[in-house]
Symmetry: C2
Subunit: 600 residues, 2 copies
Amino acid sequence: MQVYEAPLRDMKFVLNELHADDGFGNLEALAEFTPDLTDAILEEAAKVAQEVLLPLNRSGDIEGCTLENGVVRTPKGFKDAYDLFREGGWCALASDPEWGGQGLPEAVNKLTEEMICSSNLSFSLYPGLTHGATTAIEGYATDELKQAYLPKMVSGEWSGTMCLTEPHCGTDLGMLRTKAVPQDADDLGGSFKISGAKIFISAGDHDLTDNIVHLVLARLPDAPPGVKGISLFLVPKYLPKDDGTPGPSNGVSVAAIEHKMGLKASATCQLNFDESIGWLVGKPNKGMEAMFTMMNTERVSVGIQGLGVGEVAYQSAVWYAKDRVQGRSLSGVKNPSGPADPIIVHPDVRRMLMTMRAYNEGSRAVGAWVARALDAEKHSTDPEVKKRAEDFIALMTPVVKALFTDLGYESANLAVQVYGGHGFIAESGVEQFVRDGRIAMIYEGTNGIQALDLVGRKMGAHMGRYLRSFFHPVAAFIEEHKGDEDFGKMVEGFEKAFGALQLSTGTIAQKGMKDPEEAAAAATDYLRLIGLVAMGYTFAKAAVIARARLAEGSEEVTFYRSKITTARFFFDRLLPQATAAFLAIKSGKASMMAMDAEAF
Amino acid sequence: MQVYEAPLRDMKFVLNELHADDGFGNLEALAEFTPDLTDAILEEAAKVAQEVLLPLNRSGDIEGCTLENGVVRTPKGFKDAYDLFREGGWCALASDPEWGGQGLPEAVNKLTEEMICSSNLSFSLYPGLTHGATTAIEGYATDELKQAYLPKMVSGEWSGTMCLTEPHCGTDLGMLRTKAVPQDADDLGGSFKISGAKIFISAGDHDLTDNIVHLVLARLPDAPPGVKGISLFLVPKYLPKDDGTPGPSNGVSVAAIEHKMGLKASATCQLNFDESIGWLVGKPNKGMEAMFTMMNTERVSVGIQGLGVGEVAYQSAVWYAKDRVQGRSLSGVKNPSGPADPIIVHPDVRRMLMTMRAYNEGSRAVGAWVARALDAEKHSTDPEVKKRAEDFIALMTPVVKALFTDLGYESANLAVQVYGGHGFIAESGVEQFVRDGRIAMIYEGTNGIQALDLVGRKMGAHMGRYLRSFFHPVAAFIEEHKGDEDFGKMVEGFEKAFGALQLSTGTIAQKGMKDPEEAAAAATDYLRLIGLVAMGYTFAKAAVIARARLAEGSEEVTFYRSKITTARFFFDRLLPQATAAFLAIKSGKASMMAMDAEAF
């Protein structure tokens, strides 16, 4: 059964308690968003997620999207849900008030994103992609384009897409072939005719909005080859009339909708652009820059998708583990009136549930930390804080994307395992989490690409400055809590993992300088290692805070005790992966690269 | 694309070279199966897999099975393929010649099973379940039943099932409710009327054979509660007439076919037995014993399913990694005439391919070792060898089942990752491997149950005698090859992992004696640890053999060199997981079990 109640208590913990002293400071510009207000927003978002979106998750999977006579239809109920979502102001939540948004802090917004992803991952893509597209338009488009498109996109009246991939190129966008020809050859500020074929376009077409605004990567006639010759264009499905309402079709057609493993209620389209009229967003041949602005925002959001899937998988598994009776507890009968004990008594079931729980809490805590940096980057008035926030975001974006989606997928698989045979049956609802969650490890740059970004671009940047934004607070924490009376052993284990991370950083930096393949060979393990250390940091910090709350006599004994237990579990059972990653990194590229391609 | 060529060279390696000195000796009874003959059999099996079964794999997934008016239909082509399979004698391969089988050594048979599972996992279940059922009938049924059913089942004319699970019980069969009432109350040797509902019955109904022979767990009227009151019955779909051909219907009806995540061409049925006539197999109330005979055979076969999926996933990924061009090699352009290099040049893609390769070769090598033990158990004339083989099989059965299916699933997921976005699209064929492979971690006892079997029943049995059947050859190998000039470092790492396994064994045995939950909390990590050590042993041994062949001037330079490289990769990159497992085991059950169920 798909079970979901927004984990509001933990969300409020990461929002109001865990990162209070994170060094990003209090942001004046966000002062109006008091805990009272943000709590209320989270509670309202939870209602939408639980009452509107969750009930459509399985039916949407079963029905899927359809393409008939060139028109894409979303599953039953999606249009009504989208209208309600839009009218409730949820599309505009995090956008700039200048364009009609509510300017919600990212620290809150990412939590609402998590709820939407938990309750209905397919649905989340429709507003999610729009938000990504508005980021690029805000950052790079002309004022005219902003005025014409942003208010309608921010409100959710129109939606957006990112059209990057072509059949022969995804990761390597330098090869893309879609063409943009100036309508008037002398006027690059004017409009262009865009022609080409794009694939894998999420929300590429659907029946939720009156218009769809495509951001399309294409080449100008005189563009240099490779990624340096790519420009970004805004191409509406319908050209706006003078009054701003959608007018004539713009030559954008749906060639097909993809048949996918999951995420079936999200329309993933093959689009053809046939002399579609578009306008430059950003400078000619600088499309990758604008695209990366959008992409980086999206990467953090895709990480949150992984967490969202992990959370609903966890809750669904907990529900089953309490409901299903099978076998007896090894430490004495727990349910004497029943024919057997609920399976939550069994250690191996506990192992799975605690693993999921720890991955979710750890991801939520790290995600909240990054979200605070996003707010500081935007709103801090202290240039040093701003810079540190930027550094931290640059470092953590690939980690959030890859780590959270890997762990969310692992949790989805564990949920299936907790259900046993029933988990493999569609009616249980949990195998859908596996099928839906699988894509998050791939899109917006595969997790392997994230790891390469981390070691190739982020690790060594500015002599390790990005890394310092992370290493400093971690080192300070260890210094402060070494030999702690309750958590000394935990901190000791954590210090070892941090040491392994520092050693690995040195090894990779050194070897990678001479041979970039050495760095690339270490990338995936390094990302896992830094991710585990980041989670370890938030868990150790959470345990210290929880202890203080309990000592103060908090009445939320269960919550804070569970926090400490989950932290202990993380250090006992999951942090040891860091040692494996360290050993793998140390071994270098030799055996990975030795075989000739023909020998495979 | 689903790409598969049976890995004949590696199969012949594990069959004829790797385990030649495994201590199970040469078996006189199998002397007729010379390498020439077994090679020929493997080559013929490869043709069937590649030419008959593989082409039906994706079409079978798309079409699935259907239930119309109580009749189950397999996908197009399955009936013809089954007829061809049966007529070719492939159903009878491993069965006893007494019943028309060919008595093929298990060491060969398991390799043909792997091919069938690689090419079409859904198909493999139809003959696979029959084989399991014949094992139980051979071991426990009366001569009359054997005569009436075995020849037809061995030939594949009739098929078999195992009917265990009921909606409310799977792992905990003690709760089952299906009833068996003697037709004549005084005659337990006679027939019974079986009534009850079973679910998840693989090959429960289909159109491939004229009759289906169900082995059904049920309770006699006076049966004691729990697992001690379960009996096994043979219940044909159609009651045989006097001439042995199928006669009247026997009250077995299909309530539904399950809607599953994958394995869609395998008909998984909900069956209702309504006063169906059945006969006891084995003694009253001793059904679990007969069922476990069948189950243990099946568990090894399910492990092979995992390997089969891993192999086809690997080959499909290799094909794509050579075909897909994207980006340039970090060590200089490799494909100057193309717009980019094939992605197999990238270290992170290599990491994925080598991981899959190592998991497959390691599983195949361990599986072949266990298969030799199966042959020795059956055919050795030396009571000591027989005993050691039995011990080794008892120990390794849960390891083969859980480890191979976990790793096969990981490989399927890695294949999707190698394909990137295309991997999520159904047309690529690789997401099917994930959906199909997922069930193997669950059925025939979840992998968690396998781990409990390992630590609860096998680890401590007879003062660790089962373990010694494995520890002795490993320790001897380490002793012999310590400080080896080429592989010294490899053996050193291996020795450490073996040491961790021995330590963990001691810890679990000690703690588990006082508190069985301690052993259960360590189970899954312990299974992974022993599995990695078993693979490590076969890899180290393989490397030594490969070196000798190369030194002898073998012309198969690529094969033997690749074997050494893959072994090195395993020790560099995969064996480190053993350290993580060791640390997790060491931490004990405390944090896993601390939380109240209500706190989840």
